[in-house]
């Protein structure tokens, strides 16, 4: 496959008077790995929510593999091939690890309630196929030993991995990862980099990644989009982004005097400390 996996043109969203996302456009070539960064409150997760249908964009257009999905219900968007993970992990805690991934296969399953009640041959075959696929995914993520455990009993890092596995079970064309490295230690983060690269290679998905850990973003992303106050302020390769003065300003505040910091406070936003220097 070639061409664009995801094309977003000028989507906007406001909550009351707050313009959370303004005129956001992005085009992801098939198989690419794009980073989406920005200070806290820049609107990154809102972009994900707009793409996946949790919120309806006020304006703009979202196309997935050529077909328009703007403002559709989330489950239809998932069916069309866009899947995601969540910033604050949203696993099905009481269910087993295996069932979490099996649920991801739901969208590709064909059998309905009546077939389930009658246990038709087709239904049995499909359940077997789903289990097989789910177990294979768990093996890829090194979770096969915990298949029967309750998802909420997994360690934090494994929960993040399980979310990715569950998202991949929906057979997405485009995968949105929302801060997969949050809460991981540096060892786990190294593993995560390899994992994301592997996922892209083996599953052939296009990935859009929100991440605060610049080490991860700069290492694995081919291109990076920077968001601040709901607007795109920069786009380019990691090297370009690192040297872009606008990006540095967004992260550190205006660098000339204390007034810049004060203005940042007055506008109700904490100037982020750290930022690109982590890399």
């Amino acid at each position: 496959m070639s061409g664009e996996a995801l094309r977003v043109t000028g989507i906007c969203k406001s909550f009351g008077g707050l313009k959370a996302v303004q005129d956001f456009s992005i085009a992801l070539p098939t198989g690419s790995l794009r980073g989406l960064i920005g200070p806290n409150g820049a609107g990154k997760t809102t972009v994900f929510n707009l793409l996946t249908g949790v919120y309806r964009p006020d304006a703009g257009r979202v196309e997935l593999g050529g077909g328009e999905i703007t403002g559709r219900r989330p489950f239809l968007i998932a069916e069309a091939g866009l899947s995601r993970t969540f910033q604050n992990i949203r696993l099905f805690g009481e269910l087993s690890v295996l069932d979490n991934v099996r649920l991801g296969c739901h969208v590709r399953a064909r059998h309905g309630t009546f077939r389930a009640l009658l246990r038709t041959p087709w239904q049995r075959g499909e359940e077997r196929a789903i289990e097989e696929r789910a177990r294979r995914l768990l093996r890829v993520f090194g979770l096969e030993g915990r298949a029967q455990d309750q998802a909420r009993n997994l360690p934090y890092g494994d929960q993040r991995k399980l979310e990715i596995a569950r998202a991949l079970a929906t057979e997405p064309r485009v995968l949105l990862l929302d801060e997969p490295a949050a809460g991981m230690n540096s060892q786990e983060k190294l593993g995560l980099r390899e994992l994301i690269r592997g996922v892209r290679r083996d599953f052939g998905v296009t990935i859009l990644l929100i991440e605060h850990d610049m080490g991860v973003v700069m290492d694995i992303c081919e291109r990076i989009t920077v968001l601040d106050y709901g607007k795109i302020i920069a786009e380019g390769t990691p090297a370009e982004i690192q040297s872009n003065p606008k990006v540095v300003e967004a992260y550190l505040g205006a660098d000339d005097d204390a007034e810049g910091i004060d203005t940042a406070y007055a506008s109700g936003r904490r100037p982020a400390v750290g930022g690109p220097s982590d890399a």
Binding site: E79, A116, L117
Partner: protein
Amino acid sequence: MASLPERSRELAPGAAGSALRSAAPALGGVALALVLHFFATPLIGDFYAKVLLDIGVNIVLAVSLTMVNGFTGQFSIGHAAFMMVGGYVSAMIVYYGSMLGYGSPDLQGGLISSTISGREAPFVTLADLMFAGSLVAGGLFAAACGYVVGLPSLRLKGDYLAIVTLGFGEIVRVLVQSQTGDVLYTVEEVRETPIWQLPTKVGGALGFSGLPFYSSLFWVFLVVSLTLLAAYRLKRSATGRAFLSIREDEIASEAMGVNTTKFKVSAFTISAFFAGVAGGLFAHTIGVTLNPGELGFQKSFDIIIMVVLGGLGSISGATIAAAIVTILPELLRNPEPLLRLWPALAGIGAVAAVAGLVMRARGRSGGLFFKAALAAGIAVALGFAARSAIDAGHDLGRYRMILFALALVLLMILRPQGLFGVHEIWERSMWRGLLHAVGGGGKGRA
């Protein structure tokens, strides 16, 4: 990797073997129902056979409510309304059907419907089929209502949905109570009344009396078996997983491609179907008058108690809880069999206490044993209290609702997921969880 449909076709078993395996549990259910019907009554006596009937009806109710409240986590407190709809539809069909077909509302069923021993009748008659059909019809009507009640669940969550289901139940109850006329008691009246007016002649506030008692152990436990089978197969299928995922996290579920709207409504519909069938069974149970006053939200609360005690989402839990909740009042009225267990309980408590002390002496916590000893002690104390209350002439059966209410509150504080949580009794994870809860997390997390 082959696509899921292709792989499914490869892995699908042969049709013949599959059909057999698909039908076998249902046939097993028929066999169980027959065995219970023909052998249980002589063995346990008429009184406990009736208790067994009630248990069966309550199991169907509790398991059907589990599909909504347990699986999808939508909280319905109007379940008795579905039961009422199914019960009235079924009762109307059987009563007026018998009137028109047989000229009398009496029981025309064969041996599988009769609860009287030594009655001469064929094994099964046309009237039995009418009864079975009326159950299905009642279920379908209730399912239609379930669909309608399910629709608000698209917009409402949690408490609000609960209150809407309750409001719906009350509306249905009041309508049946105040907008229906007296039951027609003679064949002439029935013949003269146009057939489309018969549904309004169901007794109003006085209840629908004079119904034949078709609900035998056979019918009740046939329905129990089929309900359990259906619930289990649902839970272990893509549909059931979709239900459970909605309960766990609706937003994530939708993001994973589950049409939450559709599944919530279908949970309500399926659940209402079985509640309707249970209502049909209930209406034709000996010693019952179908009365809207008794099928208000308090009946719904009774069913909720069963579901919650059993564990929201556990089919076996709901089954066991339904049995306990039904049988407990009888046991309270006549607790002799339980009271005989005292010495054994006291012994267990003493052994557990000693074991706990030994563990403590060896530097382990021994918390599990202390808790067991405490539980045994409480049980013994309760036994003494019951004994002296009975000797003082109290009827303990009157305290049943107090006990259930206390159990509900305590359970929510101590073990919020109910006895079994979402698990089934034969699953290892359930026992691990239960031991963990009882042991107070002595072992820590794995």
